[in-house]
Subunit: 449 residues, 2 copies
């Protein structure tokens, strides 16, 4: 059922553009979903994309714009006049329109809004643009179906016919009092099942979940996912109904959040993808690599400080990559579990109890691994002292790495900082340095040097 | 608006359980959402949880069961009779009921289904259990609203009143022909807006997205997210309508997939969380750590092979943690970008063009980092030769690490293996070994030893 665009499709399209065969292009895209058209536009040249956008109807191109990659959309919008952009926006739901207009400069935002004929829409967009990023207000749409508690079912059905035309998906009907305060909700199903002379107040459900307009969007996503909500009304501090957030917006928030955590754990500044330019990718990757470089220089300085023991215990030095790798791996494992637990609100109890658990866990893992390492060094080198020194150090390094990996994200979270920053290169680099330092100190102690 | 359970709440609850004050317990939970009750049950002792489950009404406990952690649910189900489980199941949508029953042994599954009085429900559950895991069939519910194309709007409304009572959320109404083949869809809104004597065939939309019953669930999630669908019908190979998948199930699939990728990247066998036992966590962590240990032993053997150059170029050895860390970081960065791109269907073009891009990117990053390292070694040690050898090696190591990080997930994906396995410890370990080997070989060459 999905559209798979092929090289043949692209070639055909480019041929039509070259020969300016507009009818053929329109026909080619007739049955294609806007999300697929967006993918096609990302494959052709920029001039070709502009040609197609200007050719197709604005009810289709507006949806295409919402699906495009931000970089490409920005370039396309630069090539459209304020009036042309306004024509696209009126076709969209207010939340999507506000997202697009929000990417423009303040100057252009004003010009575009001036071009919107519908005063109510212009006011709605201005309101949506006024909310801070990453809040419920910035995520919500103004489109919703609202009824007054004093109406009858029959009157309500009549009026809903009018309102519902503008609302893509109805989900819930929100019931308000005469001051527009949210007092209940109804489903279309309730309305269909009810008798036509019943009052709305009689059939509406008074228990209605809602979020405040300044609530953080990740929090909204958590609430909607936890309570399996498909839409949630947004209210101000007086409970006046302002808008509504639907589950498809939440899917995007959840996806972005997961992508961000994953990228941070991998040592990427968020918001890059594999199709970005080499320069953008360098900006995302280089800072973390530079951190790793500094860590490596730190490790160098530590090892240099112990170089007098090399002649007698060269093996100690040859095991530093192993020690660094184990410290890094354990640190990432323990911090990832905490970061994911925090994201899912799964981390209960005190920091101390977490640290004790991690210590026991790291101790168990460390001892098991140390036994293997001990046997290897003993058999391979025949020196039981060296084997003992390296294995005992490994256990201590693993325990400390686990504790750092557990503590840092919990600490950051307490301070209101995104704990995901703590995973990846940050933990591996600090654990490399601590690990190697601890390793040499303990090994020296055991070997009595 | 959300329920925050406190220690006081738990203490009060435990007091009531001790004094067997059932009325007070029921009252305590009266206004609490089932998702919150599930969280409370995860905090109290197992016996207390069982006590509460047996006390509350089955229309509430059935929903609570769906929200519980799998381990706890399993233990609770062991304490319920087949009849008691059947009573819970009839309260649930078929997809949730099938998920719960699917966790039981084959023997118990049969016993529970035998206890279900409603023959149609029993048949539906048997059907759902017959689909393979991770397919559309295993994800779908049998509940949906279905109308025949020959019906009128008025007749349709009458019959929908009957069907819709069993369907939590209506979303779309599916239009079928007399052979139950899917031929179109309608929204409740369309129906409300239409005139009552119109035929369904006149107002239904013939273009309806659907998925086949054996489609992979991650693919279904991608389709629904891409096309912003809130529900999608599931059909068999003859297009006969079998069931429907709703967006809330997809939210779970997306979350699970993101969690799995994140955990693999962090070196955790999937499906652990911070509340699991130390033994479970060890099982998830130890295999990857053991892999790291083997890698470390490999690095040891390589360094030992070069130990004759130590007396003259000790600094070379002190920089091995730096080389290993950089190789690991670059490898994880490049593989993470590919893994994420593959998950989002963003990776187009040939493997070769990806590798060329990564080579240029790694070269750029590598040269910038090598300049810093060169200056440090030169200034600190005063040996321009050593500085040059180490910096040039670093560039080569970074390029090779980037290529391995890019190639491995692309290669795994081509072979139909989950590319997420390639990130994390797998890439860091292999890059450690390759990195250190390349580093010594090149440094030796440049220093002419």
């Amino acid at each position: 059922m999905t559209f798979e665009f092929t090289d043949v499709f692209i070639e055909k399209l480019q041929g039509y553009i070259e020969s300016q065969n507009d009818a053929a292009i329109t026909k080619l895209f007739k049955e294609v979903h806007y999300a697929d058209v967006a993918e096609v536009l990302e494959e052709v040249t920029f001039d070709e994309a502009i040609y197609i956008i200007k050719l197709l109807d604005s009810d289709k191109t507006s949806d295409i714009l919402t699906e495009l990659d931000e970089d490409i959309r920005e370039k396309i919008l630069e090539n459209l006049s304020a009036k042309e952009i306004a024509e696209e926006l009126v076709e969209l739901d207010t939340d999507d329109a506000a997202d697009i207009i929000g990417e423009l400069s303040d100057e252009r935002q004003k010009n575009v809004i001036k071009e919107i004929q519908d005063d109510e829409l212009a006011a709605d967009l201005k309101e949506l643009l006024s909310y801070e990023e990453d809040t419920a207000g910035a995520l919500m749409a103004k489109e919703l179906v609202k009824v007054y508690e004093t109406w009858t079912v029959a009157g309500c059905m009549r009026r809903i016919r009018g309102q519902a035309k503008d609302v893509t998906r109805v989900h819930s009907i929100y019931v308000v009092d005469k001051e527009d305060k949210l007092v209940g909700r109804l489903s279309l199903k309730d309305l269909i099942i009810a008798k036509s002379d019943q009052k709305i107040a009689e059939i509406s459900k008074p228990k209605v979940d809602y979020v405040l307009v300044d609530e953080n969007d990740e929090q909204v996503a958590k609430i909607m996912a936890k309570y399996d909500l498909e839409a949630i009304p947004v209210v101000d501090e007086n409970k006046v109904l302002l808008g509504r957030i639907t589950i498809d917006d939440i899917v995007d928030v959840l996806k972005e959040e997961a992508d961000k955590d994953y990228q941070l754990a991998a040592g990427l500044t968020q918001d890059v993808d594999s199709d970005d330019s080499i320069l953008d990718l360098t900006k995302a990757r280089l800072p973390w690599l530079f951190l790793g470089l500094l860590g490596g220089i730190g490790a160098f300085l530590i090892m240099e400080g112990f170089d007098d023991v090399f002649s007698k215990y060269a093996a100690l030095f040859f095991f530093t990559p192993l020690i660094a790798a184990m410290a890094g791996n354990v640190g990432v494992q323990s911090s990832a579990i905490i970061v994911q637990g925090l994201a899912n609100d799964d981390v209960k109890g005190s920091i101390n109890s977490r640290l004790i658990k991690e210590m026991l866990l790291a101790l168990l893992n460390g001892v098991l691994l140390a036994i293997v390492l001990f046997l290897f060094v003993w058999v391979y080198q025949g020196k039981i002292n060296t084997a003992l020194a390296i294995s005992v150090s490994l256990v201590v390094v693993i325990v400390v790495a686990g504790l750092i990996g557990t503590f840092v994200p919990l600490f950051l979270n307490k301070r209101g900082i995104d704990p995901a920053i703590a995973t990846g290169p940050f933990i591996t680099t600090s654990n490399d340095i601590f690990g190697i330092l601890i390793y040499f100190l303990i090994a020296k102690m055991i070997l009595g040097i």
